[in-house]
């Protein structure tokens, strides 16, 4: 029964990883951009929530009302102002520019918030739990996180497949030149994609901050989890990304159960095994 518990906790942890990964998967899908600063932007959202929560005495989950629009705007400006300049045939500029941004963000956060470990204090909800079967209980927050991940991905599926903007995302991803002939301004569409990506990142950052301690140095680790979930799930598939997050969460949870020092290592090793066995991930997109 303990193992069942371990797996269930891992699945719920996977919800958080899926939230980390969704934004990364989305921008790769739309513009083939791999944002190395993605993890650091998650931490930016956590600190933004901290600042808002402490500044206005708000509950951390209420700060979402401010942090999500803030990150949405940041994403638009970041893409329009900097990252659009890096897109092209050469993979080096986007990679190195986002890598540079990652270092800039980490050190900027250090400068403003110091290296101290922080946490978003959510009060009673942090310790609330639900009894399910066989004496296993699950935390309310992890459940909320998992449900949020499912809702976000369902929402993005609707956005992608039921709206004109979604068609524009997919058309631009297929063939940016022809998309322009349709009157689609690629720079604007890419900026909107990054804005949506960072809106999801905002949610991920707040839920991360409520769940665990964070400090300016943890961004790269979150990037790696996000990246692993995306690759495990298969590039460009949002539901695959959720599956990838869950597999990573379960692997980490099992690793931690064996030895707390093995948690992260177990996740990485699960990723590498899947990479060797199924290089294109579990649910690769049909059209590539």
């Amino acid at each position: 029964m303990q193992w069942v518990d371990t797996v269930i906790q891992g699945v719920l942890l996977g919800g958080l990883y899926a939230l980390f990964a969704t934004g990364l998967s989305l921008i790769f899908g739309v513009m083939r951009l791999v944002n190395i600063a993605h993890g650091d932007l998650i931490v930016v959202a956590s600190f933004a929530a901290l600042a808002v929560a402490e500044g206005f005495g708000m509950h951390p989950l209420i700060t979402l009302l401010a942090v999500v629009p803030l990150m949405f705007g940041l994403g638009y400006v970041l893409q329009r102002g900097i990252l659009n300049l890096t897109l092209g045939k050469d993979i080096l500029p986007p990679l190195l520019v986002t890598f540079g941004l990652s270092i800039i963000i980490q050190n900027g956060l250090l400068e403003v918030f110091t290296a101290d470990s922080q946490k978003l204090k959510a009060g009673a909800i942090e310790t609330m739990s639900l009894q399910i079967f066989g004496g296993i209980s699950v935390g309310v927050l992890p459940v909320i996180t998992f449900v949020a991940a499912v809702l976000v991905i369902a929402g993005l599926q609707l956005l992608f497949f039921r709206t004109m903007l979604g068609s524009a995302f997919r058309a631009t991803s297929d063939d940016p030149d022809t998309a322009r002939l349709m009157g689609i301004d690629n720079r604007h569409v890419f900026a909107l994609a990054m804005a949506v990506s960072l809106a999801v990142v905002a949610l991920a950052g707040v839920l991360l901050g409520v769940r665990t301690n964070f400090d300016p140095s943890i961004g790269p680790g979150r990037l790696l989890y996000a990246f692993e979930a995306v690759i495990i799930g298969g590039l460009g598939s949002l539901w695959g990304t959720l599956a990838g997050g869950v597999i990573l969460g379960v692997a980490q949870s099992i690793g931690a159960r064996i030895d707390p020092g093995l948690q992260i290592l177990a996740g990485h090793i699960a990723f590498l095994i899947i990479l060797i066995v199924r290089p294109r991930g579990l649910f690769p997109r049909a059209v590539d």
């Binding site: 190395i36 993979i91 080096l92 190195l96 890598f99 540079g100 250090l110 990037l223 990246f227 290592l265």
Partner: protein, 340 residues
């Protein structure tokens, strides 16, 4: 029509002489320099060697790795394993550490070569993390808190502290020269042409029969070997190792990437210029702490956006100079044969 293919230029011959003079001057540093000078030069040398290797991977073979700290760490730990547990002499242990890093590069490549482009980059990073977390589990090597090199091993490098420092100095100088030399040699060989073809167009070079996978693998393994040797050098100077120091992304990859980008990616001179800029900036800005890293990052971002050929590229393109000519020049001596 007669054709002649050359790579040397007049500037390159002058540059050769200048380089030689600088090298001789630096090699005499134990005569004119303080201990701090020697230490600084060794640091300069290992950053230069790391930068040359990263540039070889990213600038020429299209392998943008963010995980080269894996090989620095493996080399560093190799030094400790070979000297402490296998009783190998320190110098021999450094060589063996380089070889060990190259051997580890093979299974690493088996995994990360499945990923393309940016995903390759993050994949190499994951593997480096796996190595870091794995070494943290090895209690014989001090686990997460690390291990110091025992006095007996330190003594076996050389008897006096001064002798040790001079020896390490020459090893450092040698590896910097070797790293630059091997990149030059690879680029001037047929292999180099194949690499440039891969970088410029992967599908096109495949259609020309260039075996990308093998060419890339060879480069990856060479870079791992040299990087591993440098790792051993770094930790014979530091005398203490821990997983976080050995597999540090910031120190062994971020700095190195900034050096190459600022100096000029895809050019042999780039890492040299970049390392000089890096040390000059460090001299003036190091006390700014986090601001120093932010300034480096901003410089790299701005250069990547506005002058992707780097500082050396700006100079070289304006004046048409190359210190280490690797481009082949085709001289056509028209002999006014019949019309085509």
């Amino acid at each position: 029509m007669k054709y002649r293919v050359t790579t040397a230029t007049r500037t390159s011959r002058v540059a050769g002489l200048v380089t030689l003079a600088v090298l001789v001057f630096v090699a005499l540093a134990p005569q004119w320099g303080t201990r701090a000078d020697l230490r600084l030069i060794v640091e300069f040398c290992y950053f230069l060697a790391l930068a040359q290797m990263w540039n070889l991977l990213a600038g020429y073979a299209g392998l943008v790795s963010v995980g080269q700290q894996a090989f620095v760490g493996l080399g560093g730990y190799g030094l400790f394993v070979f000297t402490i547990y296998l009783g190998v002499s320190p110098l021999m242990a450094m060589l063996l550490s380089g070889i060990a890093a190259a051997i580890f590069a093979l299974p690493t490549a088996f995994v990360v070569f499945r990923l393309r482009g940016a995903y390759f980059a993050i994949g190499t990073w994951v593997v480096a993390e796996v190595y870091r977390l794995s070494f943290a589990q090895v209690s014989a090597l001090g686990g997460g808190s690390g291990k110091s090199l025992p006095i007996s091993v330190i003594r076996s490098i050389a008897d006096s502290r001064a002798e040790r420092e001079v020896l390490i100095f020459y090893v450092g100088l040698a590896v910097a020269v070797f790293a630059t030399g091997i990149v030059y040699w690879i680029l001037r060989s047929r292999h180099g042409l194949a690499l440039t073809a891969i970088r410029d167009s992967e599908p096109a070079s495949e259609s020309l029969g260039v075996n990308n996978f093998n060419a890339k693998l060879v480069i990856y393994v060479i870079a791992a070997a040299v990087t591993g040797f440098v790792g051993a050098l770094i930790f014979i100077q530091k005398l203490r190792i821990s997983p976080d120091a050995a597999f540090a992304l910031t120190d062994w990859t971020a700095y190195v990437i900034f050096i190459v980008v600022i100096g000029g990616i895809g050019r042999i001179e780039g890492p040299i210029i970049g390392t000089i800029v890096f040390f000059v900036l460090q001299e003036f800005l190091a006390e700014l702490g986090t601001w120093y890293l932010m300034i480096l990052g901003i410089m790299a971002v701005v250069i990547m956006l506005k002058a992707p050929q780097g500082l050396w590229g700006l100079v070289a393109d304006r004046f048409g100079i190359q210190f280490f000519p690797v481009q082949r020049r085709l001289h056509v001596e028209a002999t006014r044969d019949k019309e085509a």
